[in-house]
Amino acid sequence: MTWIRGLDRLSLAGLAVLALLVGAALAGTLLGVGGAQDAIVGPRLAPPDGQWPLGTDQLGRSMLPRVLAGIGTTLLLSAVAVAVTATASTLLGLVAGYRGGWVGEVVLRGVDVLYAFPTIVLAILVAAVLGPGRSATLASIVLVTVPLMTRLVKVAAETVARRDFVTSALISGASHRYVLARHVLPNVAGTVAVQGTYALSVGILVEGGLSFLGFGVQPPASSLGALIQQGGIYLLAAPWLLVWPGMVLVAAVLAITVFGDGLRDRLEPRDSRALK
């Protein structure tokens, strides 16, 4: 856990917020805090009070368990998706940037193909072909986020691959796999950290966007994107529909983002030079 030590205060705050959210999601799904998220329990659009701490939604369901479940769904979905994206993009980007040649060309073109599909159209096609729901959302997020990350990892890997320390390792007889794992990967890790957290926010956005267009998680399951999408229109009449999930979502992405930036800085052992 030594890496935590090197983080700055902002990143630690981000990490704390994330931990809090994960805790809340677990409380909701495992401990059943707030009751069943899909049960119609009260009047529609009731404001927060003792009985429904966060109010009720447009079907008269308590918002508390829905928000908690939404955190769980969204975090899990995007985390899994980003893990997949990060792994895939890193592998592909390393191959394209380090190996180069026709293999790299093929990888890049393959990624370009995905890239070439307009984001939402791609997501919708995936949802339409796979049938909407979690797996389609997951696949969409991955397909949408892989290209950018792959390209950026490629750019970073390309530069690293020309450095003398890679040459040295190769002279030592290091396998390409060794070089990739020990030299190139750590040197692109900052990029992966930044892009990974970016992908996470894109993932959340795609999830929400799909919900917005009706291709997201299936009702009555709850996700932050779906909650926000459905609550958006009630901004004035029943603000609690939008405010809770909105705040949580923004907090989550913000936490992830500052944490990612902090991680990136942490992964850079050299001092940055103040230009002053």
Binding site: I40, R44, L59, G214, Q218, P219, P220, I233, A237
Partner: protein, 509 residues
């Protein structure tokens, strides 16, 4: 939320004192989009009827409270239950200036009946159409068919310029040439329609507005916003809470308009695993439906429970008296046990347009009460249609949709006859008793016998439970009272909020 009508059957009446002229900015969620083009006879969705009704007119029209009123026919007689004689209005011309005559009427009806359009079914068992003279048309039916006039009042039965069509100078699929108050000046698919006042319209001083600009705005919140910031004068809203959402906005009126359209639940007789082949299972599901809750929760109380005769239409049956409504949940559980389906679980396929997902979720909760687990599958309309209508036999478990309820209590029941409504054949097994009940109801003449026949019909549909009517589908009509003075019906049968568009007055801001 209830709105007190300003007159029987009307939520608002255009102020005749307001000066004529002006441009009306209107927003609706979707455009006509039929591959068949602009031919009104092939139009089968309400939005097409609505837009085309600005250009085309019918012999008779629907008035407040579903009264049949004169349209292009000034009057009519029914010498016998199977005979209708229409006297055409004088001075009616098509937009190209040619006067309309009986040949146009006869030709239009014959074309409709011979064509592939679905409305031919609704117009009924027409035996012959003939021009008695230049101003008189006689229609003979095979057997009594009470909804005949109501069916004639809808856009697909509009009078087309048959002479031009026959001569090939006008293709109704691409050109709109009617007798109506407006002409379509411009159309860009999914973006905009521009209708302009037609000089030479038969009714004096109408239409009041110079222009109607119809923007297609799929996003509900955008339409609401447009009303707020005055970029739209009039908008059709789908969100059931729209009246509440617009409550505080100065100048904006949001009227919940009842319609006869209603949501219904399809239980696929051919469902994989034979889940719904047993009528007892279907009945159990039907019993578990809490229509009151669906109406209260999913439609915010704007919709009402309904049987197959749409609530709100004259003579419609009382949904509370349906067999399923009077049975209790224990009965449902017992039926399930009898059918050996105690751990029933199925997928409910719904499209994603609000409030369908809400209805599906209440259904899910309803069924949980009798231990049935429902998984909701929310699809885009294309995939939904593919899943429900794409294959025969159909492979979905259950699906949610809505029918337009039309302007007569018996009409929609036609779709409960799969031999006639071909699209149902994939999931619905024909039932002779049900078919007979439908035919009886359709033939029952106005009078005390008709409610009885319709009640019978409702019960038959309820027992059959292959397509279970649930609640009516409301819309909200929003407009800026400082910009327009419209006429709004309290209940619509053909989803036509522009029914009296010629009366709408544009107010100077």
């Amino acid at each position: 939320p209830t709105v007190t009508p300003v007159a029987p059957g009307l939520l608002a009446i255009a102020d005749p004192a307001a000066p004529p002229g002006g441009v009306l900015e209107l927003q609706i969620p979707i455009d006509t989009g039929a591959a068949s083009g602009l031919d009104p006879q092939l139009a089968d969705v309400a939005v097409s009827w609505q837009l085309m009704s600005l250009v085309y007119e019918t012999l008779v029209v629907i008035g407040p409270g579903f009264r049949i009123e004169p349209g292009l026919a000034v009057s009519w007689e029914t010498p016998s239950p199977t005979e209708y004689v229409f006297h055409l209005r004088e001075g009616v011309t098509f937009a190209n200036g040619r006067p309309m005559d009986a040949a146009d009427v006869v030709g239009s009806l014959e074309r409709l009946l011979a064509g592939p359009g679905v409305w031919a079914t609704q117009v009924g068992p027409v035996a012959s159409v003939a021009a008695v003279d230049d101003r008189t048309v006689r229609v003979v039916l095979d057997r009594p068919y009470t909804p005949f006039l109501a069916a004639l009042a809808n856009t697909p039965a509009a009078v087309l310029p048959m002479r031009e069509i026959a001569a090939g100078t006008v293709d109704p699929a691409t050109t709109m040439l009617g007798t109506g108050p407006f002409v379509a000046e411009f159309h860009r698919q999914d973006v905009l329609w521009r209708f302009a006042r037609r000089p030479g319209y038969w009714a004096p001083a109408r239409p009041a507005a110079d222009k109607i600009i119809v923007s297609i705005v799929p996003q509900e919140s955008t339409r609401i916003a447009a009303l707020q910031n005055q970029s739209a004068d009039f908008a059709v809203l789908g969100n059931v809470d729209a009246p509440q959402l617009l409550a505080g906005v100065r100048g904006v009126v949001a009227l919940p308009q009842a319609t006869t359209d209603f949501y219904y639940l399809m239980l696929n007789n051919n469902a994989p695993g034979g889940k719904f082949a047993d009528p007892r299972v279907r009945t159990a599901v039907n019993i578990a439906m809490d229509r009151t809750q669906i109406a209260a929760v999913a439609t915010a109380g704007l919709g009402t429970p309904t049987g197959v005769t749409p609530a709100g239409l004259p003579d419609a049956c009382d949904p509370a008296a349906l067999p399923s409504a009077t049975a209790d949940l224990d009965e449902a559980r017992r039926l399930l046990a009898e059918a050996g389906a105690t751990d029933l679980s199925f997928t409910l396929t719904a499209f994603s347009t609000e409030p369908a997902p809400a209805v599906a979720q209440v259904i899910q909760q309803n069924l949980a009460r009798i231990g049935v687990r429902v998984t909701i599958q929310q699809l885009d309309e294309g995939s939904w249609a593919g899943a429900v209508y794409g294959e025969v036999p159909a492979r979905f478990d259950a699906a949610l949709s809505w029918f337009a309820g039309y302007a007569d209590a018996g009409m929609v029941a036609q779709w409960w006859k799969p031999e006639q409504a071909q699209f149902n054949i994939g999931f619905m097994a024909p039932d002779a008793g049900l078919t007979a009940a439908v035919d009886t109801a359709l033939a029952a003449p106005e009078g005390p016998g008709r409610p009885v026949a319709l009640r019978e019909l409702c019960a038959a549909v309820d027992r059959d439970a292959q397509m279970i009517p649930l609640v009516t589908r409301p819309v909200v009509v929003g407009y800026r009272a400082d910009a327009v003075s419209p006429t709004v019906f309290a209940t619509e049968g053909y989803g036509n909020v522009l029914r009296r568009a010629a009366d709408f007055r544009v107010l100077g801001r």
